[in-house]
């Protein structure tokens, strides 16, 4: 497999929800984009423009109805589910809008969760978790249940969880929606640091603070499931 400059390429991707039913909805029409290795790429567009749909397709969470998606040069559209899982587990780290932590588990347990169905020994797993927790200064909260954490802390736990598997690509959907200016700035700094480690970051957002940030490399604008011209 040749190592191209693009870590992700989509090729005429189309996504139809509920095909053949009365509530059929085409969320993506013929999307072809390239995402470069390293650097921050932003998907920008109004609500309902299909940002989340595209993110979930390139993150191997859902399969597009048509088209091809290459991750590291490999077409993932035709892969059986368990190989998609493998891609998710090995290549991607996800940061969701609502954080999606398991609220009744402790911080540490949440962070190691992605590594649970692997053959990594528990001690090593914990070691890794402590390393990332240290980085985001949440180590002293490790035994605390997530539901007692503040929003900013929860986000840092979510980031730590996304990084535990040492992913190449970090996908973040509306990461700053619940954050104030200061926290959002902090978050962008973290992302910048991750890019420095040669990781790729893809963010979907309609927050001007994010897409006007100086570190953003490429902006893909979307309107109604179509590309509105790449910048």
């Amino acid at each position: 497999m040749e190592r191209s400059a693009y870590i992700i390429r989509t090729h005429h991707v189309k996504k139809v929800y509920n095909p053949g039913k009365p509530d059929e909805m085409t969320a993506l029409h013929d999307i072809s984009v390239e995402i470069e290795r390293g650097g921050i790429t932003v998907l920008q567009g109004p609500s309902g423009s299909g940002k989340t749909s595209l993110l979930s397709a390139i993150g191997c969470m859902s399969r597009p109805t048509e088209g091809k998606i290459f991750v590291d040069g490999k077409d993932v559209v035709k892969l059986p589910e368990r190989f998609l899982t493998e891609m998710r587990r090995n290549k991607f780290g996800f940061i969701f809008q609502q954080y999606h932590l398991i609220r009744s588990l402790s911080v540490l347990d949440n962070i190691v969760l992605p590594l649970c169905p692997t053959d990594l020994p528990p001690a090593e797993m914990k070691e890794r978790a402590l390393a990332v927790m240290d980085r985001f200064s949440i180590t002293e909260k490790k035994k605390m249940k997530v539901k007692f954490l503040s929003g900013g802390e929860q986000q840092r736990v979510a980031i730590a969880r996304a990084l535990i598997n040492n992913p190449d690509v970090i996908i973040a959907d509306e990461p700053t929606a619940h954050l104030d200016k200061k926290l959002a700035a902090e978050f962008m700094d973290i992302l910048a640091a991750l890019c420095g480690e040669n990781r790729t970051v893809v963010i979907a957002t309609h927050d001007a603070f994010v897409y006007e940030h100086s570190l953003v490399g490429k902006i893909i604008a979307m309107r109604d499931g179509r590309l509105a011209g790449a910048h």
Binding site: V77, K78, E81, R82
Partner: protein
């Protein structure tokens, strides 16, 4: 549940179209998980049920006049032998299906999916038939029947197949047994280093052959040493408590060894499927090693019993020569 899996299996078989990315195909793909899980349960149960069946047959022998072990219970209703045979066959077939399923999961393009469900559809009626046989057996048991037990079936003087096996001379069958094992071990070792197809086929054929040799050996001489009684050849008595359940590890190692020994040959063709090639050789090696390990344990167990039995080969010869005045054997004879 089995029926449900069968139904799903049929649907998958008919409608499977990997190229399609329709929602229907996706739902089929998800159903395969359900089928796999159900079949894992069902087939796991099948494997367990061989053990249960034998144990139950063993346990109920006291209900029958003249029965002293599972042989007697099985004789009480001859369907029992058929049920036992079908159980063993299904046990092997079930194992094969699980391996097939496992291999299918390794490939990125579901390489064996059609074959898998076709085999499943063949397997299901067999499981039902087996269930039917088992029911027939247990319902057809009549405690008033006076059965004959192993003493007569596996006696050295009789016309049946069983007794002719029992009558095989211990010395030569021991030679055949150990030669068979050495041959098998050597092919295994060769197989570990050369990935030639013909070696695989040879290996699997030898495994099958060795299974037959071993079963014959159990009846002809291993049993003799377990019971320390040169005239007793029952393959079932050894799972009794009196013989510290030695039969269970004995049969378990043999069955596992043969099963894993058969795999490389049977799945030889799967190795050439492109999407499997990467992992297949590694798995095959594991099979070979595992099979060899089980077989070696089996043979070691046998050897241990032969060597440390109170019955010496010498006394066997003496008995065969008609000299029954051996003080160690007489009490055994009375005991039984």
């Amino acid at each position: 549940m089995t029926l449900y899996a069968g139904l799903l299996g049929t649907v998958v078989l008919l409608r499977w179209d990997f190229q399609s990315s329709s929602a229907y195909q996706l739902s089929l793909e998800r159903k395969t998980y359900l089928i796999s899980t159900i079949m894992n349960y069902v087939l796991g149960f099948q494997i367990l049920s061989v053990f249960l069946f034998v144990y139950t047959a063993e346990d109920i022998h006291q209900l029958f006049v003249g029965a002293m072990c599972a042989t007697g219970s099985l004789n009480a209703n001859p369907v029992g032998w058929l049920a036992l045979l079908s159980k063993i066959i299904i046990c092997f077939a079930a194992g094969l299906w699980l391996v097939l399923n496992y291999l299918d999961h390794l490939g990125e393009d579901f390489p064996l999916v059609r074959l898998k469900y076709a085999v499943l559809l063949v397997l299901l009626p067999c499981i039902c038939a087996d269930l039917y046989l088992q029911l027939q057996y247990f319902l057809g048991l009549d405690p008033d029947i006076i059965t004959s037990c192993c003493g007569s079936l596996f006696s050295t003087s009789g016309g049946s197949v069983a007794s002719s096996i029992a009558g095989l001379p211990a010395g030569p069958s021991m030679v055949v047994f150990y030669t068979g094992f050495v041959l098998y071990a050597v092919t295994s070792l060769f197989g570990l280093f050369w990935e030639k197809a013909f070696l695989r086929y040879l290996h699997s054929s030898l495994a099958a052959l060795f299974f037959i040799i071993s079963m014959a050996s159990v009846v002809s001489f291993i049993s003799m040493y377990v019971y320390e009684l040169p005239t007793h050849h029952c393959p079932f008595d050894m799972i009794q408590k009196e013989y510290s359940f030695i039969g269970y590890p004995l049969y378990a190692t043999l069955f596992c060894g043969v099963f894993f020994g058969l795999l490389p040959g049977i799945f030889q063709r799967a190795g050439s499927i492109p999407s499997l090639q990467r992992n297949f050789r590694k798995i095959e090696r594991t099979w070979l090693l595992f099979s060899l390990g089980c077989m070696t344990s089996f043979v070691m167990l046998t050897t241990y019993m032969v060597l440390f039995s109170n019955l010496t080969y010498f006394s066997v010869l003496k008995v065969l020569a008609g000299n029954t005045a051996n003080e160690r054997i007489i009490p055994c004879l009375l005991q039984h």
